[in-house]
């Protein structure tokens, strides 16, 4: 027996996140660690729970092991419910055959029966590649007030960014007049955040039509939204002016972590009224040693710091040995940085060992040609041998 839900959330977590390279070789993008003790998916999941949405389908496809394990029964996000709760929805086989999720719209289409069980009025469609705190219930109020068929969350971006995003042109009532994917000459700077609220019956109709039309892309931005606009459905843009950051590339992932150390960035992880929940690792508190130097950094439980750490994010269970230096870097869970090693402007993945006197990355000031500079990246479970060097822009996924 299923109890009717007003609103069900569908979280698209199947993407490979190929622009994160070494970090997503064996885990889906939403499972990538962020902010010392979180994974990216903690943000949309916590937003759901904090917004009063207790029924969430997580659509997985690419490398789902870490993600499935992580979500488990949903308890850390208070999503282990008698009715609803979090459900991992992988692609499946039917009597007609089996198919992978072919596009964002197709992924939802294949799980219409999951949604129908709760007979919802509205469906929230979310991505798993952004860091933000947002109250979806306010967006839903906006949706209802406008009697909308689709509400798209939007944010003002720079003109340059607008060329890489889905751009909305709206009238005074924020009704969407035009929608262009990645326009060369943007006529507005209102960008879609990839957060949609659909009136379910409308979405259902368009999903079925899209599936029958068989366009090949089966995508919300490319198919569903243009089709709805063409038919003059009621599409509205909901402006969100809080912190919202894409973490789909190595640079943006690094920046989004560094944002946590900037006093001017309005992403508060210490707000008791909007907690970001995460699966706990049951580790003792962090220990900062007698010879350690720690400044302007975020350090998670279970880590031991005996070296020098400045402007960095150190994840659970990481060890920074005496004589090691970590600047402007992200050191993911369980990684050990040995004595004499220097890690600067870098991302080091989970469970790596950076041996004595190895060097990862350099600061941009030391590079003459700025174009040659970039973040150095080491993937998960990689050993960097004694004295080895990882240059800026290098992406290492095997032991060196």
């Amino acid at each position: 027996m299923y109890i009717k839900k007003e609103c069900v959330a569908m979280l698209l977590a199947g993407g490979q996140g190929s622009r994160l390279y070494a970090l997503t070789q064996d885990m889906a993008k939403p499972a990538v660690p962020y902010g010392g003790k979180y994974r990216i998916i903690d943000f949309p999941l916590s937003n759901c729970t904090n917004s009063g949405i207790d029924t969430v389908g997580v659509l997985t496809q690419y490398q789902p092991l870490v993600l499935n394990d992580y979500i488990g029964n949903g308890q850390p996000w208070d999503l282990d419910r008698l009715h609803g709760g979090v459900h991992v929805l992988p692609p499946y086989q039917t009597s007609f055959g089996a198919s992978w999720y072919e596009g964002t719209a197709n992924a939802i289409y294949q799980n219409m029966s999951f949604i129908e069980r709760y007979d919802p009025e509205y469906v929230v469609v979310l991505g798993g590649d952004h860091i933000y705190k947002m109250d979806y219930s306010k967006m839903l109020d906006f949706h209802k007030k406008n009697d909308a068929d689709l509400t798209i969350a939007v944010q003002q971006v720079s003109l340059e960014e607008a060329t890489r995003l889905g751009i909305m042109t709206c009238d005074e009532q924020m009704r969407v007049v035009r929608f262009t994917e990645k326009p060369k000459q943007p006529e507005s700077t209102l960008a879609s955040m990839g957060i949609y609220i659909f009136t379910w019956q409308k979405l259902k109709k368009y999903l079925i039509e899209n599936e029958n039309a068989n366009t090949g892309s089966k995508d919300f931005g490319k198919d569903i939204i243009p089709a709805m606009l063409q038919n003059n459905e009621r599409l509205f843009a909901y402006t969100f002016d809080g912190y919202w950051k894409d973490v789909g590339t190595l640079d943006s992932l690094w920046e989004a972590n560094m944002d946590l150390l900037s006093p001017s960035v309005p992403l508060d992880l210490y707000d008791n009224d909007w907690k970001i929940y995460t699966r706990n690792s049951n580790m003792p508190p962090q220990y900062i040693g007698s010879n350690a130097e720690v400044e302007n950094s975020m350090i998670a439980e279970g880590s031991t710091i005996n070296g020098k750490v400045d402007f960095s994010i150190i994840f659970a269970g990481a060890k920074i040995e005496e004589g090691a230096t970590v600047n402007y870097s992200i050191v993911m869970p369980g990684t050990v940085i040995k004595s004499g090693a220097v890690v600067e402007y870098a991302i080091v993945g989970e469970d790596c060992v950076v041996h004595e006197n190895a060097r990862i990355g350099v600061s941009p000031e030391t590079v003459e040609n700025r174009d040659e500079w970039g973040i150095a990246v080491v993937g998960h479970n990689v050993d960097i041998s004694e004295g080895a060097e990882v240059l800026p822009k290098d992406i290492i996924s095997k032991n060196i």
Partner: protein, 374 residues
């Protein structure tokens, strides 16, 4: 092996409350915050869980609100179970009797619960010892030595001149207990009872029934001491790291001991994690001018000032240009800017304004009560 037999865990959350009266004014011994992110009960509870004990009863006495809040359904210790799991046992007394006076009366009050368990053995522990111990090995010892009662002890420098309280054991060559001294007037390394006992349910039942009929209530005095010839009482040495909390000073020292890497490695063993209630705080944030030396700092802390030789519990805030040295700061305490705080224990939720100076001493740390505003 003990693992095959069912073992019931019993934790006494309120024994020794009077040893640390400041800290237990509004809570039980078991719910005293410790080591940055834990409460004292987390240690016996996690030890039992990690030793394969699947059913645990927690015996409380008074002021147990914070304990109930901490334990909840027991899920965080993996004890929210259909069979067994965590059972909270608030005091039960008959109309004409009062609150229980000691361990034996407490056991008598909850005997129905023990009786209904299908366990063959009972492991009892108080909350005054911080340690990681494998009860599986201790139960195996109990079986092999065919003991009626196994008392777990540790070698420990005891000094009657200090505030310490302890039950000290005399042990013969076979490991049998031949002398039991309660708070003796001696000093030096002693075999100190760690207030952990293993008995079969049958033996425990006899003890509880017999003592009830004689109005005896002290397990240590009326059983261990008085009946050491009647029962075969064996001593099992716990060789791992432990600290015994029998005074506010001992509580302070036990926290400070965790700043020693060797002690931490002895207490926090990867294969036997210490579980606790999750608070969902952000990681620790260190500010631009922060300076931290030799400290244990739990999630949710925001440190702008200087911290040296401290244990900071979850959600503590330390303002700019403040210096905090040799302190145990419990959760959600806020210390303002330009303060100088030395050798102080602050209880939960203390608020210390700007430019305050407070100094205790390592031998007599200054204690500031819960919710105090300074």
């Amino acid at each position: 092996m003990g693992a095959k037999k069912n073992v019931l865990g019993l934790i006494f959350a309120s024994m020794h409350d009077s040893d640390v009266i400041d800290l237990t004014k509004k809570r039980t011994m078991g719910s005293i915050p410790f080591g940055g992110r834990y409460r004292l009960i987390d240690f016996p509870l996690s030890n039992m869980v990690n030793s394969g004990i699947k059913e645990v009863g927690v015996i409380t006495k008074s002021n147990y609100g914070s304990l109930l809040d901490h334990l909840g359904s027991g899920r965080e210790w993996d004890l929210s179970r259909k069979n067994g799991g965590l059972h909270l046992l608030p005091p039960f007394s008959h109309v004409d009797s009062g609150m229980y006076r000691g361990r034996l009366e407490a056991l008598n009050g909850v005997w129905d619960f023990v009786e209904h368990s299908n366990a063959e053995y009972v492991v009892m522990s108080d909350c005054d010892v911080v340690t990681t111990i494998d009860y599986k090995a201790a139960v195996a010892f109990h079986e092999e030595s065919e003991a009626d009662i196994t008392v777990i002890y540790g070698k420990y420098p005891y000094d009657s001149g200090s505030e310490q309280t302890a039950t000290v054991l005399g042990i013969n060559e076979e490991g049998r207990i031949n002398d039991v001294m309660i708070d003796p007037q001696i000093a030096g390394e002693c075999n100190v009872c760690l207030n952990m006992f293993i008995l079969s349910k049958e033996v425990l039942k006899n003890i509880v029934i017999n003592s009830a009929s004689r109005s005896e209530y002290s397990f240590n005095k009326d059983v261990l001491q008085a009946k050491k010839n009647e029962y075969k009482m064996m001593a099992y040495e716990h060789k791992g790291y432990f600290s015994k909390i029998d005074s506010v000073k001992a509580y302070y020292d036990a926290n400070m001991a965790l700043l020693d890497t060797e002690n931490r490695d002895g207490l926090f063993i990867k294969s036997a994690p210490i579980y606790t209630k999750i608070r969902d705080n952000g990681p620790v944030k260190f500010g631009l001018e922060s300076e931290i030396k030799n400290s244990l700092i739990a999630d949710g802390c925001v440190v702008e000032g200087k911290v040296e030789n401290c244990v900071l519990c979850r959600g503590v805030k330390i303002g700019k240009d403040s210096v905090v040295r040799d302190c145990v700061i419990m959760q959600d305490t806020v210390i303002g800017n330009k303060c100088s705080i030395n050798s102080v224990i602050t209880d939960k939720n203390v608020e210390i304004g700007d430019e305050k100076i407070m100094t205790g001493s390592a031998s007599y740390p200054l204690y500031i009560g819960k919710n105090a505003v300074i």
